[in-house]
């Protein structure tokens, strides 16, 4: 294998930088131990691939530019079964091409990371301008039932931090994890601190503790996650996208389907309190709440401060994870505030989820931009004032 540290180039390039979200995410992947990147050029994510093509060979990893995004996603799934932590990066049109094989990753419980630097859609849309329109696609894009983990950074630093988290979630829960960035974050520059190696927490997939003859590749432990043997370890792994039993053998009946699909969903559902991350800002005494995510959350934070200067008690709940959705937290918040506003750069994707979570307990209003521009704090405050 190739992950041995014989290189003079560090995987974790400790230091302070002034750099972009795309570069920070690429460095986050390297810090997490990523050793394989498969990708296809697409604006506004290409700088991630470019940086990986430069850095991965330095740390004895491989960068492969594939012929399309379908090959990229299945290539990283293959690399994961080859024993490497693996990643791809794309934007909306590429993510659309990837969704079938994200489903394969869910069904075969393959750890890997997909970065989607969102741009305006649908279709070719706004290649160079911001969007947040892929929220629902990351949840429902592939067919069948599955529970995705999706993280949503709001700064260059978080592009680095949450890429590491994405790898850790992927390895711990054996799922493809999506990091939902956006064009603003990908291309903006600000301070990035890459910490000392000792401060970076890496989680690796659980390995079998039994000999090959006793190993059942899809027999889960109590935590609902099966230990993962990969190619070349003598376990003769059997991997299929068909409904399979604990041996990994295809068994096409309702009973096997029920057991498998329930487990691959429940391993996330029943652990969602450990997975969900939010940031609360001035919510303690808030009468009005904003719920925001990604780059939009920065404008929302500005709006909270501006509104408070005007004497309006506003707070912010920032979703760091979008999926699983923090239903209970939002239901609780709904009891304490008169109204919730959701600024988002789409036509109501998170707003719909918030409406579902509050169950009519408070007023909910989405502040929608359809792509290409950011909300300003002033715009958000203006909307809040209109509603007073």
């Amino acid at each position: 294998m190739m992950s041995k540290k014989e290189s003079k180039f560090p995987e974790i390039d400790t230091g302070e930088y002034f750099t972009t979200g795309n570069h920070a995410a690429a460095e986050g992947a390297l810090s997490a131990g990523c050793k394989f990147f498969g990708g296809y050029p697409i604006t506004p994510s290409s700088e991630i691939a470019e940086h990986m093509s430069f850095r991965l060979p330095q740390v004895k990893g491989h960068f492969v530019q594939f012929e399309d995004e379908i090959a990229s996603i299945i290539g990283i799934i293959g690399a994961s079964w080859g024993g490497a932590k693996s990643m791809t990066a794309t934007s909306g049109p590429g993510y659309s091409l990837m969704v079938e094989n994200i489903g394969l990753g869910m069904m075969t419980e393959t750890p890997c990371v997909i970065i989607n630097v969102q741009r305006g859609g649908p279709s070719t849309g706004l290649p160079t301008l911001v969007g947040q329109q892929d929220i629902m696609q990351t949840k429902w894009g592939s067919h069948g039932d599955f529970e995705p983990i999706v993280l949503c950074p709001n700064s260059v630093q978080e592009c680095y931090n949450l890429t590491i988290e994405a790898f850790n979630y992927a390895e711990q829960y054996r799922v493809p994890v999506t990091l939902l960035m956006d064009e603003t974050l990908g291309h903006m520059s600000e301070k990035l601190v890459i910490p000392d190696e000792s401060k970076v927490k890496r989680i690796d997939r659980k390995k079998p503790t039994v000999p090959p003859e006793e190993y059942l590749p899809y027999k889960a432990d109590e935590d609902m996650i099966p230990p993962m043997a990969v190619a070349g370890e003598g376990y003769k792994v059997m991997v299929t996208g068909l409904t399979h039993d604990e041996r990994g053998y295809p068994v096409l009946n309702a009973e096997t389907q029920e057991k498998l699909v329930r487990r691959i969903n429940d391993k996330i559902r029943l652990n969602k309190d450990k997975i969900i991350r939010v940031e609360e800002y001035k919510l303690d005494d808030a009468e009005i709440a904003l719920i925001a995510f990604g780059s939009t959350a920065r404008a929302a934070k500005g709006a909270v401060n501006k509104a408070r200067k005007k004497g309006i008690k506003v707070g912010l709940l920032r979703l760091v994870t979008i999926w699983p959705f923090p239903d209970e937290m939002i239901a609780k918040l709904a009891k304490n505030v008169k109204k919730i506003y959701i600024p988002e750069i789409n036509y109501g994707q998170v707003t719909r989820e918030v409406q579902r979570a509050v169950q009519g307990k408070t007023k909910v209003e989405g502040l929608f931009l359809l792509g290409g521009a950011m909300h300003t704090p002033e715009q958000i405050v203006e909307e809040i004032e209109k509603g007073l």
Partner: protein, 285 residues
């Protein structure tokens, strides 16, 4: 042959049992299908190769041939339709000592997976790719595909297919494959030899095996038994290693030209190139 009679013993054991997944047999293949023979030859070629079985992976896409990986007791991967090759690239480059063998059908590799196979051949990915060509989509009930010849009747070509099929060996040669051979399922010795040579090759090695599919191909095309298809192959094949691959297109009334058309040793593989990039990157400061 001598008059000596072989002693026949009733047994439920097969000499290759340890290389097959316990409990996965009986297989799904129809009577008269050649995939059993081809599976047998592949396993023999693998165990006679220089590779430790532990380092061999078999990868399939979707379809009848796509089921083969799942019967084999190696690290085996049954992926999505058309995607066995890029999956295998990820699997292969993460360990240069690993041998990754892709076995799948003509529809899987050349229709839905067509973009992947031409690029894998172009960059000489370190894979052995076996395409079992049965001239149609068998698993889904006998639709026409990229290898169906003009006049061939299939469920989606009730008036006879009109399109030109791919000339598969020529396509693979043109794209840059290091090894290209075509045999029929009747040529068992040749098929096994080709598998062995392909497995030993560094780079992209490709073997097309013309298979017998009586159920969804033969039945509609006056070849309703596996035996009849093999007889057809016997009567209509011409062995010519030196054939210009431009001339090996299969049409209804053309002879089927078989042979080893490409065998190159001097091309670096994708893995070689990636390792070279690592060395270049490491040498810089």
């Amino acid at each position: 042959m001598t008059e000596e009679k072989m002693e026949l013993k009733e047994s439920h054991e097969h000499p290759l049992d340890e290389y097959l997944r316990e409990g996965r047999i009986p297989h799904i293949f129809c009577p008269g299908c050649s995939l059993g023979t081809i599976t047998n030859l592949l396993v023999e070629a693998i165990i006679e190769s220089d590779y430790d079985p532990k380092d061999v992976c078999v990868v399939s896409g979707i379809g009848c041939t796509g089921r083969i990986a799942g019967y084999l007791n190696f690290d085996s991967f049954h992926t999505t339709h058309g995607r066995a090759i890029p999956f295998s690239i990820g699997l292969s480059v993460t360990n240069p000592n690993r041998k990754v063998i892709v076995i799948s059908g003509d529809g899987d590799l050349f229709a839905i997976g067509g973009n992947h196979i031409i690029h894998a051949a172009r960059r000489n990915a370190n894979l052995t790719v076996i395409c079992v060509n049965n001239f149609n989509y068998g698993m889904t009930g006998g639709q026409a595909g990229p290898t169906s010849y003009p006049g061939q009747v299939q469920t989606t070509a009730p008036y006879g297919s009109q399109d030109e099929p791919f000339n598969i060996p020529d396509l693979m040669k043109t794209c840059g494959a290091s090894y290209v051979a075509r045999w029929t399922a009747l040529d068992v010795r040749r098929v096994k030899e080709a598998f062995s040579e392909a497995i030993a090759k560094n780079g992209f090695s490709f073997v097309e095996v013309l298979g017998s599919c009586p159920t969804t191909f033969g039945r509609r095309n006056q070849l309703a038994e596996g035996k009849k298809i093999l007889e057809f192959f016997r009567e209509n094949t011409i062995l010519n290693h030196d054939a210009d691959t431009k001339d090996v297109l299969i049409h209804k009334d053309s002879p089927i030209i078989v042979g080893k058309f490409v065998d190159l040793d001097d091309k670096p593989s994708l893995t070689d190139n990636l390792l070279k990039i690592q060395r270049v990157a490491q040498a810089k400061k």
